[in-house]
Symmetry: C2
Subunit: 202 residues, 2 copies
């Protein structure tokens, strides 16, 4: 399946600013992206990067510096297409296979906090809108255009690496490039009374 992977090369991982400086955020973002590209290929997908600026990563790259929604909609050509965010570092080939093979004109993998971390579009009239609680909006849009909808229940696809709390998920559930980079940067799990967090020992 054709798989668009949107990647913001300008200000990636901006909400990690409390724990990583801008050069570190860029370093982490490229590793997150490369982990995702690997998993897409291992799941049998054909990744295409949809980037805000030119980048050399060994896959087809379309440069489009408009908003995420405008760029994705312009790239939907009618061919069945998956859209997988570049920061889904927990995405395994197995989780992506479930996504690619799920039936439905539109398949949504909701992200934590109401986003749409991954989806499959097989209906010609469906368009994305990533603003706000997009998983809710995408449900409604699928209904409006008469598309059958399936929601995929996956913690791995629900977990984008967006906020500092997400880094614990990376250390708990991945051994990819991004997780190794994070460990090398001194991050480790910190267990207390509630959920596990991360702490840094440079």
């Amino acid at each position: 399946m054709r798989v668009l992977v949107p990647f913001d090369g300008r200000t990636p991982c901006s909400r990690l600013a409390p724990v990583l400086d801008s050069e570190e955020r860029r370093a982490l973002a490229t590793r997150l992206r490369d982990d995702v590209l690997d998993a897409v290929r291992a799941a049998g997908g054909r990744p295409e990067l949809l980037a805000t600026e030119p980048v050399d990563v060994g896959v087809s790259v379309t440069v489009d510096d408009r908003s995420l929604s405008a760029a994705v909609n312009a790239a939907l050509t009618g061919e069945p297409t998956a859209v997988v965010m570049a920061d889904l570092a927990l995405a395994t080939p197995r989780a992506l296979s479930r996504l690619f093979t799920a039936s439905g004109d539109v398949v949504i993998a909701p992200g934590r906090g109401g986003g749409t971390n991954a989806l499959v579009v097989r209906h010609p009239d469906f368009r994305v809108d990533y603003h706000g609680a997009s998983c809710r909006d995408h449900r409604r849009r699928a209904h409006e255009v008469g598309a059958t909808l399936r929601e995929l229940d996956s913690h791995r696809l629900a977990t984008d690496i967006d906020e500092p709390g997400d880094l614990a998920e990376l250390l708990l559930h991945s051994d990819g490039r991004a997780a190794r980079w994070l460990r090398d940067a001194g991050f480790q799990l910190s267990t207390g009374d509630g959920r596990v967090a991360v702490e840094r020992h440079p």
Copy 2:
């Protein structure tokens, strides 16, 4: 399948104290629990409440006021048993069916933050330890006793209603008792730049 549902009737949902007073936390907790019991039954499970104090909910109740781990281990009798936390308000019959039917001597559904929100035990020597990053510890323990391990990838089972940020998940993905109670209490989604949050309008 036999399904233990541990329920803390003394100080439930204590980490929601920033947004709910103690009477409200108790009201929400009973609705979370009843939603979980409904979903377990709809998935073909036979729920048994494992409670810190006597409670009348129409299912078999074992009262054990020791720690969660001690109480669960005492209730593991050798019969294949699932343990499903009482605050998994997004748990659907479908998600629980995936859990109950997954193969493996031990099946773990990790929670956000490294917990073990749900598991199935089919090995006589496996014991739980819910302290800290328990999903990691449970992986190791399964290996130590020679049990085959399966991890279940589910956002619905990964989402326990533990911290204020989790309330958005409840409003986004559930229409059960707990979600309705939360809406009636004035909570609604608040969309901004990042993840969706909740705000209260009493």
